[in-house]
Structure formats: structure tokens, C-alpha cells
């Protein structure tokens, strides 16, 4: 996979993941091209497009378009499954995910994506294992924060006492 983009019906970008090195200007151009092409598709068209030498696979989930760019040898039908799996993961994490969740918690969407795909390839095929890793990472974040919070509370108490 070369890239994965999420954008709204109005063409606003909600997530962009690039798996190959692309200059900033080129990224903007690709995003513009993808949004134009995908949003311009008729409602009951097939989910595959051709763009330059890449196969573009896209799927609409509620108000969000999930769009990825593949090499010639990659399996388009499986790419649809990959996109679907990502949506399922988001759904499990946020509980009935909607576009707003992804807008307000975009960094979490990225974290989930980074546990699912690495360098454009799937790294874990089990939903449960993946969810557990995300939970554990989140816990680590809490502990970290909690610890520093506790320390600062304690230091305030001590400074008051002393």
C-alpha cells in the first residue's frame, strides 16, 4: 500500500498515512486528485480506479471515504477487507464510531492504524490481539500520566506542610 486517506463528503481530510516518501507538495496534489476522483464517482460504481500506475481502492462508510493506493500486484478485493477491518477496529475502540470521533481523536485513530498496518502491510490479523495491544498502550499512557500527577500532588502537599 502506498497511502491511506480518510476524507469527508466535502473533501476535508481526516487522516493521511503515507507509506512511501513523498514531498509535501506532491502529497497535497495526491490528496486533491484522490478527493476529486473519488467524490466524482457515481453512487453505484465499482470501488476500483486507476490513477497513474496505482490501483485506487475506496469505500464509503457513512460520511467518510476510506481511500488507499495500491501497487499493481496487490489484491484489490483484499484491500477492501483491510479497509473494513480498520473500520471495525475503530468501531470497537470508540463504540459505534462516527466521523466526529475521528475528528476529535485523530491521534488515537493513527495509533490504531499503526498497530494494524506497518510499512503498508498488515501486521496483525486478529482483532482481539490488536485491541488488547491498544488497551495496554493506553494503560501505559494513563499510568505515566497518573504517576506524574501523583508526584506533583505529593510535592504540593509536602511544600505546604514544610
Amino acid at each position: 500500500m502506498h497511502f491511506l486517506l480518510l476524507f469527508s463528503r466535502q473533501g476535508k481530510l481526516r487522516l493521511q498515512k503515507w507509506f512511501t516518501p513523498v514531498p509535501e507538495r506532491e502529497k497535497k496534489k495526491i490528496v486533491r486528485d484522490m478527493t476529486t476522483m473519488v467524490l466524482g464517482r457515481k453512487p453505484r460504481s465499482c470501488n476500483f480506479l486507476h490513477w497513474k500506475d496505482l490501483k485506487i481502492v475506496y469505500k464509503k462508510y457513512a460520511s467518510l471515504y476510506f481511500c488507499c493506493g495500491l501497487d499493481a500486484e496487490e489484491n484489490e478485493l483484499l484491500a477492501l477487507e483491510v479497509l473494513h477491518r480498520y473500520v471495525e477496529l475503530l468501531d470497537k475502540y470508540f463504540g459505534n464510531v462516527c466521523e466526529l470521533d475521528i475528528i476529535f481523536n485523530f491521534e488515537k485513530a493513527y495509533f490504531i492504524l499503526d498497530e494494524f498496518l506497518l510499512g503498508g502491510e498488515v501486521q496483525e490479523t486478529s482483532k482481539q490481539v490488536l485491541s488488547r495491544s491498544i488497551e495496554a498502550s493506553d494503560m501505559l499512557q494513563e499510568v505515566c500520566f497518573g504517576r506524574s500527577c501523583l508526584l506533583s500532588v505529593l510535592s504540593i502537599i509536602f511544600s505546604v506542610v514544610l
Binding site: R44, V82, G119
Partner: protein, 785 residues
């Protein structure tokens, strides 16, 4: 300094902006606050600020001032900081900025961190955006983690290794030992990523491919277990067990089985099993079937299996799901060359897809339909394709028209049918026809001698209806110019001849000249056509008048033509009829590579027999000695050869020689060497003016599927001859006869002895060097007499 606002707060605020300007103002304000916070080196809120910056970056605003802050976050000990820091690095940094190299040390430390989630972050970042330098520095760490027993890390390390190999292919060897027992893992994540790693290695290196071929039985076993095992809740997708892994294994099997009979045979059973047992009601099952079909078609599978695969594709074509139909058409396109007959069986379904509403499907169906056209089905197929041409979207018309022309040229059952088909295309899609079709069509019409009257009549009638489609107009005006006499004389066998006068014809052509719809090129065509009619029609005065008017045209091209034609009328009237004669039948030039005419690019021929051949030996001396030793004996002269291939001589030489020696074609060409797919032909000319020099041009072609690179041709002749080898056109002989390497040999034969030659060929084919020696004795007598 108040605490910077939280991320969610910022997002909420920005979303309340009603205009772009309002949003920009809010963002600028916040950016300023973030910048000053960064300047204060505030550790507590750095994470929050960078997160906000990333949000603003996603909206399209510049965020480069946060790059160094990301590095500071990565270096922090807090997991929260690292998480956001690495995310920022992946979003804001890329290998074009030198800043990213500063990450290398942090990543190295984090790869050895005690917490696996930190190690995971580092691996993920390296695997997504690591540059070649970073990969080189950190490959060792990745390799270590590839051998760990922690499956969470092992799977990430495998994909990270894939990235390293993509960036720095030379490091592939390094990961070889770690791959030893990757496939004996039970963990699906590790298995999946291992298969990806093995696939990457096998695709890049033929040695690795050979090495990993022994894994085929193991892969087959794993795949079998996946299919046969019962319901596994962890990996189940709509009743299928771990489809992601199944597809990747199938893809690896494809690479391993390609061009290897034993491996292909070992896979036959499992492929048949997957093909027949996979549930096809959902997309996921079809994804697996699709991959299976691709694998079956690519390896050396038995014919029964191939037919099974094509039939699966045939079933796909009837599926309600558009995606499946699209994928079927794409795959059939790939296999139509090799399994033509099997695909033909599904022709009617494919042709039906031309009527599909989906644009992508229509395009694929069109390409496939053209591939399926043959002598037997041409009439039926053309009917469908012409109907498609009528009704399809403009984006297809150009390609469809070109396809129709090609197919018609190859398989036309009769000349009349051919002309009719062309007419149909020109009249329905005339404006979309490619520019280069016009000369091709003209040539075709010229060569169909018996159809001239019919053609010009039909084109004339078409012109009366519609003069907006330029290619149609151009071809028509050319034909009327050529065959106007046939048109006016009313002699048409194929259909009812129309009655038309010279004046009517000239009216039409003059109409083209003045019409707003005509392009300058079209105007040029019509002016020339009018001029040509001056020798075919009797109303010469009218034509003279038209031509003289355009002598002052604003269009330079028209003006030039008109002035020249005027001159033809006035000063060169005696030449006019000869010049404007009917065109002869044109040969289609098979132009590939340089011509065989002597290259007169400044090399002085007369002096060759007198002077010694200049020492142009640039190869090491021992090679020349080898040639001497191999050829043995004293009766050979060492080869003199230039090693660097240069472009062949310009066309200037050709022109000079067109008028030259007409006995050039007298000597028949010969095949000097034909072995292992490499064929070398010799064609001969006599060098003018010295008849003792035979100029031989070698043409090397390659019928195998792989290019022959570093191709070097050497030759040696007996002592009484002198030989000079000029530079070759290139040193790559492309595969499948897609081109040829040519080289000129000059042989001086003053004693008119029988020509003999020894040739030595060296080249690299499919990665291995090949060398061969041969004697060439079958020179035709004319070449040395």
C-alpha cells in the same frame, strides 16, 4: 503564562469558524502561542502543543517549526510524549529533511527499551519512514528483534525488515539467518509478516528465491490447516479463517512456483482445494479465489487447473457485485494471451459487459474485447464494438476507434467490409480519431486499388452531410484529390454511382477552405486536393483562381502551398501532370533500428585499404589473446573494436545513398548464428566506391523472455582479410524480439578470397553470463566475389 488550551478544545473552537478567513485567524493565533511555548522549552505542555500542531497540519497549515519539538518528545521518558513525538515525526518529517537523522539515536535506544510498546513505536516509525541511512544504521537492531521470542515485537520487526530491504537491498543477506524458523510460528501475526518478508526477499533476489523454494511444502501445510481447521473466533472473517494470511501465502506460492515445475506440482492439490472449497457469497471469499486464480495462471500448473481458473473468472463475470466483475475482466485481460481459447468461451459475457453502466468495467471489457477479436469472430465482434463506439462516453472513443482500426486491419474479411468499417468509425466518432490514424487510413485506401471509386464516393457523401469531424474531412479531401476523376465519371461497381459534377466537387472543397470548422491542417489538405484535381478535372481555370487567392493567405502554410502551386501553373506547367500523378501503392515501413545503408558519417573509405587499421583496442590485451588462442592457429587477425555503444549515424547518410548504388539489394541476407534464443543475421552492402570492402550489418534479436544485457559481439577473420567493427547500437538485446542490436562490420577483401569468420558472443542472460563461439562459413558468394 496560562496553560495552553487542550487539543479537544482547540478542535472545537476551530470548527466553530464560519469562514476560511476566521479559521485562518484562529490558527495563526494558536500557532503564535505554541511557538512562544516552544521557545520557553516547556516540557509539561510540549506534548499537547505538538498534538495541536498536528491537527492544524492536517487542515493544511504549515507546521515545520514543530519538527524539532517532535524529536524532543521522542527523547522524553514519558510514554505519552513518545507516542505523540513518533506520530509527529511520521507526519512532519521525511527523509528529505536532515532533521530526521537526529532521530536515529533515539530510535536506537527505544529499540532496546524495556517496555515492548516503546520498542513497538520505534519499529513502527522506522518501518514507515526510515531513510536509507537510518536503515543502514539500525538494521542490526531490527535483525536482533527479528529473532526474539516476543511475538508482538517479532511481527513488527519482520515488517520493519521489509522496509529496510526496500530501502537498502544490499542488506537482505543480513536477515537470512533470522528467517530460518519464521514459518514454524503459531502466532498468526508473526506468520503473516514473515510471509510478507519472504515474499519481498524472493521478489528481489533470484538466489533467495532458489533458497526459499524448499519452503513450499511447509507453506502448503499451513494453508491446508487454515482451510481445514474449524471455526477460529480470533481470525474468522465471515466464516473464513484468516483470509489475509491465506492470500499472502497464495501470493508467495505464486512467486515460488513460477517457472519451476516441481514446486508448481507440489501446489496443484492445495490450489484446487482452495479453488473449490472457498465460500463465495462474500467479498472475502472472492478475494481468496481471485488470488488463487492469479497464482494458478502464473505457475506451471496443469491444464485442468488452468481451465478451472478461467471458469472461476467466467463465474465472476456473472456475479452481481461490480467489483468482482471488474476484477474478472482485469484478470482475463492478463491471461488472454496465454489461454486464448479458454477465454474465448466467455466472449459473449465479456461483450455484454460493454453495456455495463460502470465506467471502469466498460473500459476493461473494451480492452478485453479487442484482445479476443480474431479471424473467426471479426464480423460479430465488430458489430458489437461499433455499437459500443456509437454509445460510449467520449473518454473511450479515441481508444475504441484506434482498436477498431487495428482489428479491422488484421482481420478484415474483405476490402469492402474494411472500408465500410472505417467509414462507420469516421462518421460516428470522427472527431475522436487519433491524428496518426489519418495517414494510416490514407495508406490503406491507396492500397485497396479496386475500391477507390467506392471509397471516394462514400467519403464524398459523408462530407456532404458533415464537415465538422476533422479526421473524416482530411481523409475525404485527400481521397477526392486523388480519385476525383473516378467520382465525377460515375463509375462505381459496389453501389449505385452518384451523379456529381466537377463544379460540385470543387464547391465542397472550397467550402472546407472557408469554413470555420476546418483546422489549418484540414485547410492544407483541401488546398492540395484542389490542386491535384487540376490534372484530373477540366475546369483548370477555376482551380487556378482559387490557388492564386490563397497566395496571400494569412496562414503561412496555406500561403506557401498556394504560392508553390501557382508557380507550378506558371513556370513549371510541363511538370504539373507528372507531379500530381496518382500515388503509387505505399509499402508499410517496418522501421526498427537503424537502416542498413552505409554510414557516411565522416569515415573515409578510400583510405582504409592503404592505412593500417587504427589501434582502437580498448579491451585489455589478454582478451584479444584469448580470442587468438581460442581461434587457434596463425591465420587470424585480432579484432579491433570500439566498446562504447553510440547512436547510429544520422539520416543524412541515408539520403545521400538513396540515389547511390542500386545494386545494394543484390546480396541476400543470411543467418549467421541462431542458438539459445539469440539470432544474428548478416545483411550486406558493397561500400561505394571501393568494391573490395564488404559492409556487413549484424542484427541481433532475442526470442527469450529475458533481456540479454552486456551483449558484446566480436569477430575474427583470416589473415588475408582486414576487419573493422564499428560501434554497436546498444549492448542490450531486448526480450521477445522487441528490438535488435545492430553493428556494422567492414571487411576488406583485396584478394577476393572466400569470406570466413569466427564470432564470439558474450552476454548476460537472467543473471548469468553466457559465452559462445561460432564459425560462420555460409557467406553468399556475392559478398566476396
Amino acid at each position: 503564562m496560562p496553560a495552553p488550551i487542550r487539543l479537544r478544545e482547540l478542535i472545537r473552537t476551530i470548527r466553530t469558524a464560519r469562514t476560511q478567513a476566521e479559521e485562518r485567524e484562529m490558527i495563526q493565533k494558536e500557532c503564535a502561542a505554541i511557538r512562544s511555548s516552544f521557545r520557553e522549552e516547556d516540557n509539561t505542555y510540549r506534548c499537547r502543543n505538538v498534538a495541536k500542531l498536528l491537527y492544524m497540519h492536517m487542515l493544511g497549515y504549515p507546521a515545520h517549526f514543530g519538527q524539532l519539538e517532535c524529536l524532543k518528545l521522542i527523547a522524553s521518558q514519558k510514554f505519552t510524549d513518545k507516542r505523540i513525538g513518533y506520530l509527529g515525526a511520521m507526519l512532519l518529517l521525511d527523509e528529505r529533511q536532515d532533521v530526521h537523522l537526529l532521530m536515529t539515536n533515539c530510535i536506537k535506544n527505544d529499540l532496546n527499551h524495556s517496555t515492548q510498546y516503546v520498542q513497538g513505536l520505534a519499529l513502527c516509525t522506522l518501518g514507515c519512514m526510515g531513510s536509507s541511512e537510518m536503515c543502514r544504521d539500525l538494521a542490526g537492531e531490527v535483525e536482533k528483534l527479528l529473532k526474539t521470542s516476543n511475538s508482538y515485537l517479532r511481527k513488527k520487526a519482520a515488517l520493519c525488515a521489509v522496509h529496510v530491504i526496500r530501502k537498502v537491498p544490499e542488506l537482505m543477506e543480513m536477515f537470512l539467518p533470522a528467517t530460518k524458523n519464521l514459518l514454524s510460528e503459531k502466532n498468526h501475526g508473526v506468520l503473516h509478516t514473515s510471509v510478507v518478508l519472504l515474499t519481498e526477499m524472493c521478489e528481489r533476489s533470484p538466489d533467495m528465491l532458489l533458497h526459499f523454494r524448499k519452503l513450499v511444502p511447509q507453506l502448503v501445510r499451513i494453508l491446508k490447516n487454515l482451510i481445514m481447521s474449524g471455526y477460529s473466533p480470533e481470525h474468522d472473517v465471515s466464516g473464513i479463517s484468516d483470509p489475509f494470511l491465506q492470500v499472502r501465502i497464495l501470493r508467495l506460492l505464486r512467486i515460488l512456483g513460477r517457472s519451476d515445475d516441481d514446486s508448481s506440482e507440489a501446489m496443484n492439490d492445495i490450489l484446487a482445494q482452495v479453488a473449490t472449497n472457498t465460500e463465495t457469497s462474500k467479498n472475502v471469499g472472492n478475494a481468496i479465489l481471485y488470488e488463487t486464480v492469479l497464482t494458478i495462471m502464473d505457475i506451471k500448473s496443469e491444464s485442468g487447473l488452468r481451465v478451472l481458473a478461467i471458469n472461476i473468472l467466467g463465474r465472476f463475470l456473472l456475479n452481481n457485485d461490480k467489483n468482482i466483475r471488474y476484477v474478472a475482466l482485469t484478470s482475463l485481460l492478463k491471461t488472454v494471451q496465454t489461454d486464448h481459447n479458454a477465454v474465448q468461451r466467455h466472449r459473449s459475457t465479456i461483450v455484454d459487459c460493454l453495456k455495463d453502466l460502470d465506467v471502469s468495467i466498460k473500459r476493461r471489457a473494451m480492452e478485453l474485447s479487442f484482445a479476443l477479436v480474431n479471424g473467426n469472430n471479426i464480423r460479430g465482434m465488430m458489430k458489437e464494438l461499433l455499437y459500443f463506439l456509437d454509445s460510449c462516453d467520449p473518454e473511450f472513443k479515441a481508444d475504441c476507434a484506434s482498436g477498431v482500426f487495428l482489428a479491422a486491419e488484421k482481420y478484415a474479411p474483405s476490402k469492402r467490409w474494411h472500408i465500410d468499417t472505417i467509414m462507420r468509425v469516421l462518421t460516428t466518432a470522427g472527431s475522436y480519431v487519433r491524428d496518426d490514424s489519418v495517414p494510416n487510413l490514407i495508406q490503406l485506401i491507396t492500397n485497396s486499388v479496386e475500391m477507390h471509386a467506392y471509397t471516394v464516393q462514400r467519403l464524398y457523401k459523408a462530407l456532404l452531410d458533415d464537415i465538422s469531424q476533422q479526421p473524416l474531412v482530411q481523409v475525404s479531401s485527400w481521397c477526392i484529390g486523388e480519385y476525383g476523376d473516378l467520382l465525377v465519371s460515375g463509375q462505381c461497381e459496389e453501389e449505385e454511382p452518384i451523379q456529381v459534377t466537377e463544379d460540385e466537387v470543387l464547391d465542397v472543397l472550397e467550402g472546407l477552405l472557408v469554413s470555420n470548422l476546418s483546422t489549418p491542417v484540414t485547410r492544407g489538405y483541401s488546398l492540395t486536393a484542389i490542386m491535384k484535381l487540376s490534372t484530373r478535372f477540366s475546369s483548370v481555370n477555376r482551380i487556378k483562381k482559387v490557388v492564386s487567392i490563397y497566395g496571400s493567405s494569412i496562414d503561412v502554410e496555406l500561403q506557401q502551398r498556394a504560392v508553390e502551386y501557382n508557380a507550378l501553373f506558371k513556370k513549371y506547367d510541363h511538370m504539373r501532370s507528372a507531379l500530381l500523378e496518382r500515388m503509387p501503392i505505399m509499402e508499410k515501413t517496418a522501421s526498427n533500428g537503424p537502416t542498413e545503408i552505409v554510414q557516411t558519417n565522416g569515415e573515409t573509405e578510400p583510405s582504409v585499404p592503404d592505412t593500417k587499421l587504427p589501434p582502437l583496442i580498448t579491451q585489455p590485451a589478454n582478451q584479444a589473446n584469448d580470442l587468438l588462442d581460442l581461434l587457434g592457429g596463425n591465420d587470424v587477425v585480432p579484432v579491433i573494436q570500439t566498446t562504447l555503444p553510440t547512436k547510429p549515424a544520422s539520416a543524412g547518410g541515408e539520403l545521400l545513398d538513396l540515389l547511390g548504388d542500386l545494386s545494394l539489394s543484390a546480396i541476400p541476407p543470411m543467418t549467421a548464428y541462431n542458438k539459445n534464443g539469440l539470432k544474428i543475421e548478416f545483411t550486406f552492402e558493397r561500400a561505394n566506391p571501393n568494391p573490395n570492402i564488404a559492409v556487413i550489418t549484424i542484427h541481433a534479436t532475442n526470442t527469450t523472455e529475458a533481456d540479454m544485457t552486456e551483449f558484446v559481439f566480436q569477430a575474427a577473420v583470416p589473415k588475408t582479410f582486414q576487419l573493422q567493427l564499428l560501434s554497436p547500437s546498444s549492448n542490450i538485446v531486448p526480450a521477445l524480439n522487441q528490438g535488435s542490436v545492430t553493428q556494422v562490420i567492414r571487411v576488406l577483401n583485396p584478394q577476393k578470397q572466400q569470406l570466413r569468420m569466427r564470432v564470439k558472443l558474450t552476454y548476460t542472460h537472467k543473471g548469468s553470463p553466457v559465452q559462445d563461439l561460432a564459425e560462420v562459413n555460409n557467406f553468399p558468394p556475392q559478398s566476396w566475389q
